[in-house]
Amino acid sequence: MRTDRGSWGKVISGGLIFGGAAAFVSLAGMVEALGVREIVIGVIDLGRLLLLLIGLGAGYQAARRGIGGALTALARGLLAGAAAGVGLSALLVLASVVNLRGMFINASPTLLEIISFGRGTAGVPLVIAAGAVAGALGAVATLLPGAVRGPLGAGVTVTIVVGLFQELLQIILQEGGIRSAIRQFIFVPEGLPPRGALGVFLVVLVVSAVWRSRQPVVRGWILKRPPPQQRLVRLLGLLLAVAVALLLPLAGGLFISQVLVLVGLYTLMGLGLNLEVGFAGLLDLGFVAFFAIGAYTVGLLTSTGQYGIAHWSFWAAMPVALVVSLIAGFLFGLPILRIRGDYLAIATLGFGEIIRLLALSEALRPWFGGSQGVLFVPKPIIGGFEFSGPAQIYYITLASSVLIAFVAARLRDSRLGRAWMAMREDEDVAEAMGINLVNVKLLAYGIGGAFAGMGGAIFAVLLGSIFPHSFSLLISINVLALIIVGGMGSLPGVVVGSLFLVGLPELLREFSDFRFLVYGAALIIMMQVKPEGLWPAAMVRRELHKEEPVGVVAEEPAAVERVEA
């Protein structure tokens, strides 16, 4: 077995980086805070799982990079994992020497106990050994054939998800014969016991293995059907999704409705920003302004409080909010038509902040309520039915999201959509193709703004009051992050993005403190690993995984060469 020093050195330094990451998440407080959530009772909690995953990752990447046989890979994984353990142990040792807590608020005794398996500095060998084992496991994962790794991975993932969301699942499975039978089989009231975890794991393993072998057959069968039938299959899938979306709040209760409404609102905003950034290539960091404009329009038109001007119903005010934010989009777009690229991002950021600061200011308080906001926004009512809470407003959100997604899809495939994309690709050539950049840009800002305005309108009745603090820059960043994670220019990507970036952190409340930390890391990593997003637009996917290398610009032979024969 040939080994070269550089390569083994790299394994160790790579492992140490992972160890550093483990120490980082520990000191940032994630391990302890997430430790509250047990995945499998008495076996592992989310905090420890995080550390374990880091160890696995260390082994995985070390084994994957190396050349050589299975044994070498295993050795590399072992070594990298041990190195990661050493990295984390350094934190333990350091904590025993100096009082880290004076500086790092999270370097608590509880944390050290979690890391050291309750043994303090005596736990160091144990930590290193655990790291090595995790690393070796990670290495094993690289060695397994796909047919084994796939189902195994699916089993583990689903088990973790079930453990993570046990509370929610238990609520959903609360009543009904079969449902409560499943619940009693898997769960105990406190969570997921080892027995249930094993059950879930095995079931998923088998299902996944079977699906893996049958999937090509099923897909082939579907593809062989004539197009109308294929469309039917797709329609059925869509209907299923809609049915799930309709029933979820009924099964999940108030909390899940709240989360879903938020996801829906972010989807609305995401669809709007996606139109600006994903389709037209206009980076907008002040997007929340449109959301605010929609909210304030509805608030002022419907409020029964002191700032209300019309006492309209929500249904009358919402179209007005749409139109107002559409016009706001035009007005917002007009001055910045000639700004390009990242300057545009900063200019829009400036605009967004100006709107928020003005809404907040004492100077405009007589109209917008200043920092106290607009109160007493009545709930929408249809023929005696009041959309009184999140569970009811969810349906307004869902309906608007479906409508808006439909509109966005239509626009994408239209003449205007093509013009947007052409402009995104090359502004000058687009103009030379006869595209009126002014109109097209303004429409992007206007329509995108109107989508967000619609979200804002719903937001106003959801809260029943509007505060300028709700419209901070973080919202714009959130929306941008979700369309990037979902896949720029992709409509399903927006939904996936908001489920992941809005729904998930809301469901894992312990997690919400670390939301932006994870966003930040996710954006950096996404840009390098998967810039096309989780559910990329078909086009972008093809673009970013180019099959054939192509030289777009040909080398220009010198003129003289051609003149002289």
Binding site: V407, R410, L411, D413, S414, R415, L416, G417, R418, A419, M421, A422, E425, D426, D428, V429, A430, E431, A432, M433, G434, I435, N436, L437, L443, I447, M539, V540, R542, E543, K546, E547, E548, V550, G551, V552, V553, A554, E555, E556, P557, A559, V560, R562, V563, E564, A565
Partner: protein, 260 residues
């Protein structure tokens, strides 16, 4: 007066005079070439005609209408189209989409119509698709409509760019070095193709070209620029032997390939 006429066109970049009081007249249904050494102002002239640059002095008329104050998109609407020296396709859009973008000027559907899915919009789109497929076939890219433009080989990218230009149904087509980077065989094909455009579609062609074989082979009129000034104009045979042209190109040496 021809389809495209420029009077005393002058374009400066700071102190540099890129075009100097240029007079140019392109006859309808002609194939007209502009040649000249690198930096002679050929592409600058294209940029002025298409509205990408604004000339400081002089006027340009297309079909008798002044176009020197119009924006590029308006000029395209009047019936011009161009290609670029270094191909500028919408690289991340499919071939079909590239052509559909080219059709933008004469498609009617509005965005409201698109959202509502009005019958008129649908009809418009269907016709556009049919025409786009026909154009693809015309330039020999049949069956490649769903390929990303960036994934085409070089020669096909050139042809796609021409197809995109044709999609706007131009009366005047400005081609910036259409045979750059091609081998002699491909150049000959392109020549024949350009001639077909004129003969079959009746499009006036204004051409920038370095390849003398192409220029002399298909042009009816050749204009020679040097340092932004027109130094000669006439049919190829006349240009071939014009001493000023030979001097501009090679000092005092003879233009090889021209005489061949």
């Amino acid at each position: 007066m021809g389809i495209l006429t420029s009077h005393q066109l002058t374009k400066r970049f700071g102190g540099l005079i890129a075009l100097s009081q240029l007079d140019l007249d392109v006859a309808e249904r002609s194939i007209h070439s502009i040649i000249g050494p690198n930096g002679a102002g050929k592409t600058t002239y294209f940029n002025c005609v298409t509205g990408f640059y604004r000339a400081e002095e002089g006027r340009t008329f297309f079909n008798g209408q002044a176009i020197d104050t119009l924006t590029p998109d308006r000029i395209t609407h009047l019936g011009t189209a161009r290609t670029y020296q270094n191909i500028r396709l919408f690289a991340n859009m499919t071939c079909l989409e590239n052509i559909l973008v080219g059709m933008h000027p004469h498609l009617k559907s509005s965005w409201v119509g698109a959202i509502l899915g009005t019958p008129r919009t649908r009809q418009d789109e269907e016709q556009a698709h049919t025409e786009a497929l026909r154009l693809l076939q015309f330039v020999g890219l049949r069956g490649k409509g769903d390929f990303l433009a960036r994934n085409l080989p070089y020669g096909e990218q050139r042809r796609l760019e021409i197809a995109r230009a044709l999609a706007s149904r131009p009366k005047l087509l400005l081609l910036d070095e259409p045979t750059a980077g091609m081998n002699p065989r491909e150049s000959l094909d392109t020549m024949a193709f350009i001639r077909r455009l004129r003969d079959e579609l009746g499009i006036t062609i204004l051409l920038i070209e370095h390849n003398m074989r192409v220029v002399m082979g298909i042009s009816e009129i050749v204009t020679v620029l040097d340092f932004g000034e027109k130094i000669a104009e006439g049919p190829p045979e006349q240009i071939r032997s014009d001493p000023r042209v030979i001097e501009a190109y090679l000092g005092t040496r003879r233009v090889a390939g021209v005489g061949a």
